[in-house]
């Protein structure tokens, strides 16, 4: 498949877990002075390689907390988080940054591109932190942008692009260091339905190339599009359903106008 997977980035050593994300009794409590709020009750979630998974729930349900924990932006109060075979629940800031850099790709609702940079430079940013050589980095950024259908606009600034195109740049950036997991926080929230579907399609293609996509969304319609839906409520998992037939439905609905070859 196309998305420049250079190698299978599973855990080192012989014993390979089938879970890319393995949460064991993971919990998060916030403290503010004397009172404490347990935003995420101890949860067990196992997500295998190569699926497209959605996390849903109303505001305050704990899904943002879960996403922050998954993205290693926050540290759990208890339990374990095994990412791609490595326990990452008790690590220092530098190591966490390195893992964020190489193991996780982040996609945001408002794209979070760097407005002064060209889109090629934008895609280069994670590779810079990973220590790529300048030439290799520029080449890979161009390749990735080509794959998301923006190969002819490498020198454009994000302000010159539409929302859907910006999100494609953001996805290319998330793929820069070839991570096994893509975390997407409401990736279609700022897009119209058609463009949103195109983005979902892109995620499906990524899934097909062996990556795991975990998407936080408000949109209940997407339940039919993904293979697994985890619903949170008040910090508990209230529903965790699998829908293995998701893919055909999205392709038939929205794939007709996809740019992706």
């Amino acid at each position: 498949m196309g998305f420049l997977r250079s190698s299978d980035k599973a855990a080192d050593g012989g014993e390979k877990s089938k879970w890319v994300v393995d949460l064991q009794q993971l919990e998060k409590t916030y403290y503010a002075g004397a009172c404490s709020v347990q935003a995420l009750k101890p949860v067990d979630i196992q997500i295998p390689y190569g699926i497209f998974c959605a996390i849903m729930g109303p505001s305050g349900s704990g899904k943002s907390t879960l996403l922050n924990l998954l993205g290693l932006l926050d540290q759990p109060s208890g339990g374990h988080y095994i990412l791609n075979g490595q326990d990452v629940s008790r690590l220092g800031d530098n190591t966490l940054s390195e893992i964020r850099c190489t193991q996780i790709g982040m996609v945001f609702q408002s794209f979070n591109l760097f407005p002064h940079f060209t889109i090629q430079e934008n895609v280069c940013v994670p590779m810079r932190y990973a220590g790529f050589s300048e030439k290799k980095m520029q080449q890979r950024a161009a390749d990735l942008l080509n794959r998301v259908g923006l190969g002819d606009r490498l020198k454009h600034k994000p302000t010159q692009l539409s929302g859907g195109q910006c999100q494609r740049v953001a996805i290319a950036r998330a793929l820069a260091n070839d991570p096994p997991v893509i975390l997407a926080d409401e990736p279609t929230g700022n897009l119209d339905e058609k463009t949103g579907n195109e983005i979902l399609n892109l995620f499906h293609e990524l899934r097909d190339s062996g990556r795991t996509i975990i998407m936080v969304t408000h949109n209940p319609e997407y339940e039919n599009v993904v293979e697994r839906t985890i619903v949170l409520h008040d910090g508990y998992i209230t529903r965790d359903i699998s829908n293995p037939k998701s893919r055909p439905s999205v392709t038939s609905e929205a794939c007709t106008e996809s740019h992706i070859p």
């Binding site: 922050n68 993205g71 932006l73 926050d74 800031d93 530098n94 940054s97 390195e98 964020r100 850099c101 190489t102 982040m106 945001f108 979070n112 760097f114 002064h116 940013v125 994670p126 810079r128 932190y129 990973a130 220590g131 300048e134 950036r173 998330a174 820069a176 260091n177």
Partner: protein
Amino acid sequence: MNLIRTVELSIWDLASHAFRSFLTGLGVVFGVGAVVAMMAVSEGASREALRQIEARGIDNIVIRSVRPSTDQSTENASTWNAASYGVTLDDMRHIRHDFDNVRSIVPVRRLRMSVYNKGKRSDIQVFATIPEFLQLSNSRVADPRGRFITDSDGENAVKACAIGIRAARTLFGFNDPLGQNVNIDGKYYHIVGLFENPFGSQMMGGYDLDNVIITHIEAANTLHGKMSTERKAGSFERVIVEADFLYIRVGDQEQIENTAGRLRTYLEKTHPQNDYEVQVPYELLKQREASQRISTIVMASIAAISLLVGGIGIMNIMMANIYERTKEIGTRRAVGAKKRDILTQFLVEAVVLTSLGGVLGVGLGVGLAEIVAIYAKMETVVTPISVIVSFGVSVCVGVIFGTYPAWKAANLDPITALRTE
């Protein structure tokens, strides 16, 4: 992250709001400009002072005969009404024998005679001294066909003289002065040589060395006696001064002050009438340097305050910059930037800003120094060291005032930062 690339990116970023960056760096520009200009003025002044002191005389120690203020000059029957004062050749011999630090001692007597140029008196002065004077005054023979005065001139009381190049031009124009005669108070002296002083030095009393005639002191004493007659606007005055100056060169510069002290003690005893003055150009130089240092410190403090203000400006704008770019920082952290990377990025940005300010400031300082040189008619010298120091200081300002904002940026909570709009 590659440092060169970081610098490049930070220049981009600064260029993307060029005017704001310029205003921010202005404090550093003025600070550095003030430092460079101040140091140039100060250096120019101290070189000027040094030159004045050097020109005044020939290094080391000068004993100068002065007319005692009380005018109790010894009256001598045989030289009626002649004022006799000052250091004598006996003093010279004594110093030469008893002071082991003294490497050479040269007496100079101003003959107070007029040099006639085509029947008119000129302003050229005649001095009588000994052959060592040439070397001691750092002068040299200007025409290889001639020579300086010699001891045999003195022993034989020859009317021979050496002439400074400017005096020669005054008297003879473009004709060859060698072998000519010059009319000194009605006596014709044979010109045996031409000399020049490449440093433009002056004799004590402000006589330009290139504009004097020099003859041997013994010959002068034999031919004219020890009494001189000074002509002042219509009046005559007779004086007996054996040596107007004694130039003393000390073997080691470390010994100058010590020797000067001993000379003063010796002269206090032998010349109670206080008809001398000991001048040490080196001491003068040190005094000048000390007062120069004080004014340099004062001016440097003023310049430092302006750099401080510049630095606070940098810090302020860096803080504003960080608030403005909180979301960018959060995103960078989310895609894998370490705290260190963020710290480096903002620190480099601050240092690039102040360094650019430093470069502009050096330019401004050089310009200011030029302006001062042209309009204030002062010598200014921009030394490489002042440029290096002030540029170094501007880099330091960036580091000092950029560290806190950069540290603050690095320690932003990524979640909060990402949520900021």
